[in-house]
C-alpha cells in the first residue's frame, strides 16, 4: 500500500493545476471573456484530457480513474469553465459498449440527475438533461435500452437551435434540457451489451470524478477565502485574526482534507476493485465530499460577509459548481440511501 502519487501522477497534478489556474476565470467578469473560454477549451482538448477514458485500442481506457480524477480536481479548484466529466463519462460508457465515441456526445440523465436515462420507447417520455457537454451545443446524448441480458446504447439526437437552451445554474458547466418527445435511435454496431458490472464501474467513475471536482472546489474556494480573511479589516484588524472566523476556516480545511482522502481512494477503486466494491467506494466518497463541499462553500460566503452575497464575488461560482457536482450522480442523501440498501439490507421504498 502506497497512496502517494507516482512521479507521473504528481507531474499531471502540477500541470493540470497550472493550466486551470492560468486559463480559468480569476473573476466573475472573466466568465464572459469568450477568448479565454475558447483558449481553455482548446488547451484541455489539446492535452488529450477529454479522451482519458476512451478505448486505448485493447478495450482498456487511455488512462486510469486516478489520472482522470487528478484533472477533475484541478479543474474544480479553478472553477474552470470547460467540459470534462461529461465527455469522459460518455467516452467510458462508449468504450464499455464497444462503440466509437463521437465528439459532442454526453450521457443523458433524467431528473434528479442521479442515474443515466433508461429508454423504452421511440421518443423520450420525460425531459432529460445533457450535463457538461463540450462547447455551446450538444449534438446527441446517450441513454440505455434494457434487454434481457444487458443494455444497449441509445442515441438521442438533439435538434438544431437547441444551443439556446437553459444553461443550468452552474456558471461554469452546461446543463442542456432535452425536451420530452425527442426521437431515440438504437446505436448501430454496438459490440457488447452493457452489463450490470459495466454500469457499476461506470457509476464508480462518475462518483469519483464528481467527488474529485468537489475536493478541488473546496480547495479553491478556501484559498480565495483565507486570503480574503487575512486582508479584510474590521475593528482595525484583519477579520481572519478573530477566533470565530479562524475556527470556521479551520473546520472547512479539515473537511477538505478528509474529502481528499476518500476521493483519492474512490478514483483508484474505479480500475482496481471489483465493480461493486468500486461502486461502494464511490458512494462513500461522494457522501463525504458532497456534504463537506456544501459546508465549505457556505463558510466561504459567510467569511466574505456582505461582499460574499454579491454576484461579483467569485465564491458563489464555487458554490454553484459544487451544487451541480453534488447533485450529478447523487448527493449525500442519495449515497446514504444507496449504502443502506447495499450494507443494511434495507429494501427500496421502505420509508
Amino acid at each position: 500500500m502506497d497512496t502517494r502519487d507516482t512521479p507521473e501522477q504528481a507531474e499531471l497534478r502540477r500541470s493540470a493545476r497550472r493550466l486551470a489556474r492560468e486559463l480559468g476565470p480569476a473573476t466573475v467578469a472573466d466568465l464572459d471573456d469568450a477568448t479565454r473560454v475558447k483558449r481553455l477549451a482548446v488547451a484541455v482538448r489539446d492535452a488529450g484530457w477529454l479522451e482519458l477514458r476512451d478505448d486505448a485500442g485493447d478495450g482498456t481506457p487511455v488512462a486510469g480513474g486516478v489520472e482522470a480524477a487528478i484533472v477533475a480536481d484541478a479543474l474544480g479548484g479553478a472553477v474552470a469553465d470547460v467540459a470534462f466529466a461529461g465527455p469522459l463519462l460518455a467516452g467510458d460508457l462508449a468504450r464499455r459498449a464497444g462503440v466509437d465515441d463521437p465528439d459532442g456526445v454526453v450521457v443523458a440523465f433524467p431528473s434528479p440527475l442521479t442515474e443515466p436515462a433508461v429508454m423504452s420507447g421511440a421518443t423520450t417520455a420525460t425531459p432529460l438533461y445533457a450535463v457538461d457537454a463540450a462547447g455551446e451545443r450538444v449534438d446527441a446524448a446517450h441513454a440505455l435500452i434494457p434487454e434481457a441480458t444487458g443494455y444497449r446504447l441509445a442515441r438521442i439526437a438533439i435538434g438544431a437551435g437547441h444551443e439556446t437552451a437553459s444553461p443550468g445554474s452552474d456558471l461554469t458547466r452546461s446543463v442542456h434540457v432535452i425536451p420530452e418527445g425527442t426521437p431515440v435511435e438504437v446505436v448501430a454496431d454496438q459490440r457488447r451489451l452493457l452489463t450490470a458490472d459495466d454500469l457499476a464501474a461506470w457509476s464508480a467513475l462518475g462518483l469519483a470524478l464528481t467527488s474529485a471536482d468537489l475536493v478541488g472546489a473546496m480547495r479553491g474556494v478556501l484559498e480565495v477565502t483565507v486570503a480574503y480573511a487575512a486582508e479584510r479589516r474590521q475593528f482595525g484588524v484583519p477579520v481572519g485574526s478573530f477566533q470565530a472566523v479562524q475556527h470556521l476556516l479551520a473546520e472547512a480545511h479539515c473537511l477538505m482534507e478528509g474529502s481528499l482522502s476518500v476521493a483519492l481512494h474512490a478514483s483508484w477503486a474505479v480500475d482496481n476493485l471489483e465493480p461493486d466494491d468500486a461502486w461502494a467506494a464511490g458512494r462513500v466518497a461522494k457522501a463525504y465530499c458532497a456534504r463537506s463541499a456544501r459546508t465549505v462553500c457556505e463558510t466561504a460566503i459567510q467569511v466574505h460577509g456582505g461582499i460574499g452575497n454579491t454576484w461579483d464575488c467569485l465564491v458563489h461560482v464555487y458554490l454553484r459548481r459544487a451544487l451541480l457536482s453534488s447533485q450529478w450522480l447523487g448527493d449525500d442523501g442519495d449515497q446514504l440511501r444507496a449504502l443502506e440498501h447495499h450494507r443494511l439490507g434495507v429494501p427500496d421504498g421502505l420509508s
Binding site: 500500500m1 502506497d2 497512496t3 502517494r4 502519487d5 507516482t6 501522477q9 486516478v66 483565507v226 480573511a229 487575512a230 484588524v237 484583519p238 481572519g240 485574526s241 478573530f242 477566533q243 472566523v245 479562524q246 475556527h247 476556516l249 479551520a250 473546520e251 480545511h253 479539515c254 482534507e257 478528509g258 481528499l260 482522502s261 476518500v262 483519492l264 481512494h265 483508484w268 477503486a269 482496481n272 462513500v284 457522501a287 463525504y288 442523501g333 449515497q335 446514504l336 440511501r337 449504502l339 443502506e340 450494507r343 443494511l344 439490507g345 434495507v346 429494501p347 421502505l350 420509508s351
Partner: protein, 377 residues
C-alpha cells in the same frame, strides 16, 4: 497510487488473520466497560508476543522495522473480527525516541512496546488544561534526584501504570515554556497517590488523578535536557493527535459493524433517520481509515506532519462523535431506560474525544495559525 497490499503486506495480513481467528479475546467494546481496561494489558502482551505490535518501531527496541502502513492492516483486521484496538501508546514511543538519550531509549522503550511496563502520561493539572505551559507541578533538584510535588489530573491508565511520563517545572525563574522538563517517574513509591476518576459513562478504570508529595525520581530518568520539556510535550501531543498512532480506526469500525448488525436484524423497526445516522457513521469511519492510509503513506517520504496532526485529530473527533451519535440515535428509548445501555456509554465516552489530547478549539487555533497562516489577534 496503490491501495492494494504488496506481497509482504498480503502475507502479513494472512498470518495476522489466522492468528486472530484463534486469539481474539472478545472483550467488550472498549471505552464502555471496566472489563476492557482490566484486560487491556493482557491483550497488549498477547498481541506483542505474537509479533503483531510495534510494527513500525525499531527492532532494536522490540519493534519490527516495518513501514508505517502495516499499522493500517493491523487496524483493518482487528476491526474485521471485532477484536480490541491496538494499545494506544505510539505517542509515548515517539516522545522517547525523539528526545531520549541512548540510555533512556534502551532502558524504557522495550518494556513500553512489549507491554511489560505500563505507562501513563502526567501532563494536565487542575489549573493547566488547554494552557498546559502554566503547569505548576515542581521538580526540585536534590542530590542525584529530583523531588516532585504537584497534582496531575485526567490521567489515563494511572491506576495500572508502572511509570509516569511526567512534565514538571524544573526552573521557575525562566519564561514558562523554558522551565519545563520531562521525566520517567516510577509510580510505585510512597510519595505518589493515585485516585480514580469516574467518567461520565460510569467507567472508573481508565481515568485518574495522581498526587505527588515529595515523590522522587533519579535525575538520570530525565527525558531530554533540562528545560526541553515543552518540546518533548509538543512532540507527544502532535502524535497523540494522529489516528495512525492511536489505532482508533479499529474501534470505530468495530462499533459501526455492531450498529449495522442491529439494523439488519430489525430493518423495519428503524426510522430512516436512524438508518441514515448509521450509514453516515460508516462513511465517517471509512474516511478515517483512508485518511490514515494516506497519512502513513506520506511518512514514506519522511514527512513529519507537525501541525497536520491537528487536522487528523479534528477529523477523528468528528468520526468518533458521529459514531457515538448514531449509537444513541439507534438505541432510542434504551439509552434513557437502561443506565447500563452500551450505546449510551459509547455516546457519552465520545464526548471526551473533542477534549482529550487538546480540545477541538485548540486544534482549530493551531490549524488557523500554522497551516492557514491567518494573522494572530
Amino acid at each position: 497510487m496503490d491501495f492494494r497490499d504488496s506481497q509482504a503486506e498480503a502475507e502479513f495480513r494472512a498470518s495476522l488473520r489466522a492468528w486472530l481467528a484463534e486469539n481474539n479475546p472478545s472483550l467488550p467494546t472498549s471505552s464502555t466497560d471496566d472489563e476492557y481496561w482490566a484486560r487491556q494489558a493482557e491483550w497488549h502482551t498477547s498481541l506483542y508476543d505474537a509479533g503483531f505490535f510495534g510494527l513500525s518501531w525499531p527492532a532494536r527496541y522490540g519493534g519490527h522495522d516495518l513501514p508505517p502502513v502495516f499499522d493500517v492492516i493491523l487496524d483493518e483486521e482487528l476491526a474485521a473480527v471485532g477484536a480490541p484496538p491496538r494499545p494506544s501508546l505510539g505517542y509515548l514511543v515517539q516522545g522517547i525516541t525523539t528526545h531520549g538519550n541512548e540510555v533512556i531509549k534502551d532502558r524504557f522503550l522495550p518494556g513500553l512496546i512489549n507491554g511489560r511496563a505500563r505507562w501513563c502520561q502526567g501532563f494536565s493539572e487542575p489549573d493547566a488544561g488547554s494552557d498546559l505551559a502554566s503547569l505548576r507541578t515542581a521538580a526540585t533538584r536534590d542530590g542525584d534526584d529530583y523531588v516532585i510535588d504537584g497534582h496531575k489530573v485526567w490521567t489515563s491508565y494511572s491506576d495500572l501504570a508502572d511509570w509516569c511520563f511526567l512534565l514538571a517545572r524544573t526552573d521557575p525563574g525562566v519564561p514558562r515554556h523554558k522551565g519545563l522538563s520531562a521525566f520517567a517517574v516510577p509510580m510505585d513509591q510512597a510519595g505518589i497517590q493515585q485516585r480514580p476518576l469516574r467518567m461520565i459513562n460510569g467507567i472508573t478504570s481508565e481515568f485518574g488523578q495522581v498526587l505527588f508529595d515529595s515523590a522522587r525520581v533519579p535525575a538520570e530518568n530525565m527525558i531530554g535536557e533540562p528545560g526541553e520539556g515543552w518540546r518533548v510535550a509538543m512532540t507527544i501531543v502532535s502524535h497523540e493527535r494522529e489516528p495512525g498512532e492511536l489505532g482508533y480506526v479499529a474501534r470505530y469500525a468495530k462499533t459501526v459493524k455492531a450498529l449495522e448488525a442491529s439494523v439488519r436484524a430489525h430493518p423495519d423497526a428503524c426510522r430512516s433517520d436512524q438508518r441514515d445516522a448509521v450509514a453516515w457513521a460508516h462513511v465517517q469511519a471509512e474516511m478515517l481509515r483512508l485518511h490514515v492510509c494516506r497519512r502513513l503513506s506520506e511518512r514514506l517520504d519522511g514527512v513529519d506532519h507537525g501541525p497536520g496532526g491537528s487536522i487528523d485529530k479534528l477529523l477523528m473527533t468528528w468520526v468518533e462523535q458521529s459514531v457515538g451519535t448514531a449509537a444513541l440515535n439507534l438505541s432510542g428509548a434504551g439509552a434513557v431506560t437502561d443506565a447500563d445501555d452500551v450505546a449510551l456509554k459509547i455516546y457519552l465516552y465520545s464526548r471526551a474525544q473533542s477534549v482529550m489530547g487538546g480540545t477541538s478549539q485548540i486544534q482549530k487555533n493551531i490549524i488557523a495559525a500554522r497551516i492557514l497562516g491567518l494573522p494572530t489577534a
